[in-house]
Each structure stands twice: as C-alpha cells, then as structure tokens.
C-alpha cells in the first residue's frame, strides 16, 4: 500500500490552491481528481469572474484553472496529480480507497487529508420530473462547455441564481432559445450583472414562479409553470405552458462530503451552508486532527472563497506535518482576512451565520 504525506481529494479551485499552498511550504502532495481533467467546475466557466484581484477577478474561470495548474508545475515532483481517480472510501486509519479508470482499485494511506470534493446539484420534485430532457443546469453546462454538445433547441431554466442565469446566457450563446427563467423567490438571486445580460438578450425572468409539471411521452415536450404566493404555494389560474425540449433545474447545490461523514468526522445540517457540513476550526481542520476540508464541501459559497480556503487549508495541513514556512502566521492571517472580506456585507450574512454554526 502506498503511503504518503498529504492527500488532496479534488482538483477544483479549493484543491488546486491547497496543493499550491502545501507544496510551497515543502509538503509532498498527491491530488486525486475523478474527472479526466483537473480544474473541477472552473473548466466549464466561460464567463469572467469578479470580486477580488487576489482570487483572479476579471479572468474567465477556465483560464483560472490554467493559471493555478501552471503555478503547481513550479513545485515539480513534489506534486502528483492523478486524474480519472475517484476516492471511493475513507477509513479510520486514514486509508483511502481509489478507483482509477474504472479498472484499478487500490489503497492509499495518508498522514493528512484535505477533502476538497465540492458540491452536487439539488433536485426538484414535480410530476414527470424523470422525463429525458430534464437536466441539472450544471450538467447542461458540462455538456455544452466541456463536451461541445448542444442539449436541445428551446430551454426552460428553473432557478434564477447565479448558475441558472449564467448557464441560460451560455445556452443563448450556443444558439439555444431560452423560453423563460423561473424562480420561486420574489427576487432574482443572481448578481445583477449576469441577470441584466440575460434580460438584454430578451429572455424573460419570472420571479415567484415554479414548475407545476413536465409534459411528454418519451421525452420532454412542454412544461407548465405557475405563480406562487409568499408561502411558495401555487396560485390557481396562473398556469402558463412553454413548449420546450430541455428543462434545467438550478435550485441550488449541496456540499459533497460523504467521505468525511464515513471517516467519522462530526457533521451537522446547516441550512445557511446548504446541507450537512463538517464542523471545523478556523484553519479548516475537522474534529479529527490532520483531516481538513476546503471549498464547497464545507458549505456552498463561491470559487473565490474556495480558493482562499484552499490556500489556508494547504498552509495549515503542511505546517502540522512539520513544513512551517517562516511567514506562516502572516500568511495564515492574510488568508483569514481574505475570507472575512469575501464574507463581509449583507451578501455574506448567511455564510457568516452558517460558519458560526459549523465552527469547532
């Protein structure tokens, strides 16, 4: 069985930054990535990010992945990246089982582990929700931007948060008609910049609306939507029918952290962080020493905070393994400051409340 110093599970923004940070301190790192290419969700983000310069604002997500991977190359053979490799089990003695290329299965034992496994899309219950043509919005984004496959001709987007609105815009760019974007909430959840881009293209955004049912025999042919009241109950007589062959569900993400749960890390359901999350210290360490979490796996936020958390977790995990850089405390404070900045103001209120509930 292979034994190693630091294992990072996931090569999205959190995992890549954790690897850069830990390798910069001198740690030897193995990164597991279940997809065929590193970068996580960054590789399908064709829009420019905004926010802080430290988190590569005004770059396209796909380019940020390239920047981070290039940085990682500086550390040479201290860092190994294994793609098509899924961590399938995480056991008490810090043994992680790996399924590689779906035909190799082996064990790895790591002194320290950073879980940067990201998130998964929430589903929605409505009649005929299993018809072919009904996708998660993230799945459609993968189809289009990673595989170059156009999902259909006319789409109904359910959810006007950032993902729903950004994917709608990218669907328009790909030549797919957007019949409407719905959201059950009375206000658009997405940043105004993204929502106005969509509105300028003529796609209607219907707030206080939900999908009532999907219609079709072998695949999706139409969808009936209706208005909802302030208690999110359907208002009779407000039904509208849209003839669409694609419906995208974009009703939020949940933290993907089942590996930590099976390892025995203490977990808690925190609605502000969109699901069950591990309790963790300010340094991203869970209740089990040497096991860290970073990015969406510890609560749904954005790529910018995932990167800052990754840098912090990588720094702290490496330090605990004996790789303490001279400027350790200054860097630690700097990442904490960045996170505080990203979570400040009214937008970060939910996250701040969630962080309090999941603090160790």
């Amino acid at each position: 069985m292979r034994e190693l110093e630091l294992l990072i599970i996931g090569s999205g923004p959190a995992g890549l930054c954790a690897a850069i940070s830990a390798a910069a301190s001198g740690a030897r790192v193995l990164i597991l990535e279940r997809s065929f290419a590193p970068g996580g969700q960054l590789i399908k983000q064709t829009h420019m990010f905004f926010g802080s310069e430290r988190q590569y604002a005004s770059h396209r997500g796909v380019d940020i992945a390239g920047i981070l991977l290039k940085k990682l190359e500086e550390y040479g053979d201290r860092v190994e990246l294994m793609c098509n490799a899924t961590a399938v089990g995480f056991y008490e003695d810090n043994v992680v089982t790996v399924l590689k290329d779906e035909k190799e299965y082996f064990k790895i034992k790591a002194k320290s582990v950073i879980c940067a496994t990201g998130a998964y899309e929430k589903s929605l219950a409505f009649p005929n929700n299993d018809l072919p043509g009904i996708y998660g919005a993230g799945a459609v984004q993968t189809l289009m931007n990673v595989y170059g496959v156009k999902p259909g001709d006319r789409v109904l987007m359910v959810g006007a948060g950032n993902i729903g609105v950004i994917v709608s815009y990218q669907l328009l760019q790909a030549g797919v008609e957007v019949a409407a974007v719905l959201d059950a909430a009375p206000k658009i959840g997405a940043y105004l910049v993204h929502a106005s881009k969509l509105a300028r293209m003529g796609a209607p955004i219907l707030c206080s609306h939900t999908v009532k049912e999907a219609i079709g025999t072998d695949c999706l042919e139409a969808a009936v939507v209706c208005r909802v009241d302030e208690r999110f109950q359907p208002v009779p007589g407000t039904e509208q029918r849209f003839d669409v062959d694609v419906m995208c569900i974009s009703v939020g993400l949940s933290p993907l952290n089942e590996l930590l749960a099976m390892r025995g890390v203490e977990m808690k359901y925190v609605p502000q962080l969109s699901g069950s999350v591990p309790l963790r210290t300010e340094n991203c360490e869970t209740c089990i020493p040497g096991i860290y979490v970073a990015g969406d796996a510890s609560g749904i936020e954005e790529a910018s905070s995932a990167m800052a958390e990754g840098y912090l977790a990588g720094l702290c995990a490496a330090a605990a393994l004996g790789h303490v850089p001279e400027d350790y405390e200054a860097r630690r404070q700097e990442y904490l400051r960045q996170l505080e900045g990203l979570r400040s103001g009214p937008v970060g209120e939910r996250i701040r409340a969630g962080m309090k509930l999941s603090a160790l």
Binding site: M1, T86, A87, V88, G89, F90, Y91, T97, L99, K103, E104, Y105, F106, K107, Y120, K122, S123, A125, F126, P127, N128, N129, D130, E213, S254, L256, E258, L259, A261, M262, K268, Y269, V270, P271, G275, S276
Partner: protein, 93 residues
C-alpha cells in the same frame, strides 16, 4: 399526480409512495430506505436525500436539522467485486 413525481431516480420511487409510508408512521429516512431501497442506488441518496427529509419535516413538524440521513458507508460509487478481491489478495502477499 404524486405517482408521477419521482423522488428516487435510482430505484424509481414516487412521491406518492413516500407520502403513503410517512402516513403509515415511517418517519425516518432509514425506515423508508429499508422499505423502498431509496439511497441504495448509484447516487447513494444524493438525489432523494433532501427531498425525503423535507417530506418528513413537513409531515411531522420537525426541522430538517433534527432529522437524520442514513449512515454513509464506502464505496461512494460502484466498484466491481473482482477489483476489490484483487486488491485484498495483493495486500495479503
């Protein structure tokens, strides 16, 4: 219409079935799992988990944070048995 609303795509379990079980007093995820196989398919409960817990919360008046999801066990995706057996043999050598 509840019979056409699919809560568990892996094992094709409808909202109607879930609601009937809750009405019969099966108000934990684990009990419903044992009766219907929800959470035991390829997604391991990632599709149905929060939907079922929400139904239980609505029916019992309890909050989502009070409710328990199932115990999470390896592996998180399907692994062919011969691969596991081969790795076990290698570790014996």
């Amino acid at each position: 219409m509840d019979e056409n609303t699919i809560i568990c795509r892996c094992s094709d379990v409808s909202l109607k079935e879930i609601r009937e079980l809750i009405a019969q007093g099966y108000v934990t995820y684990d009990e419903i799992k044992r009766l219907t196989r929800i959470g035991m398919g390829p997604c391991q409960g990632k599709t149905c988990g929060q939907l079922v817990l929400r139904e239980i919360a609505n029916a019992t008046g309890r909050s989502m944070s009070e409710l328990q999801f199932h115990n999470i066990r390896p592996p998180v995706v399907g692994v062919k048995l011969h691969l596991i057996a081969e790795e076990a043999e290698r570790n014996e050598e």
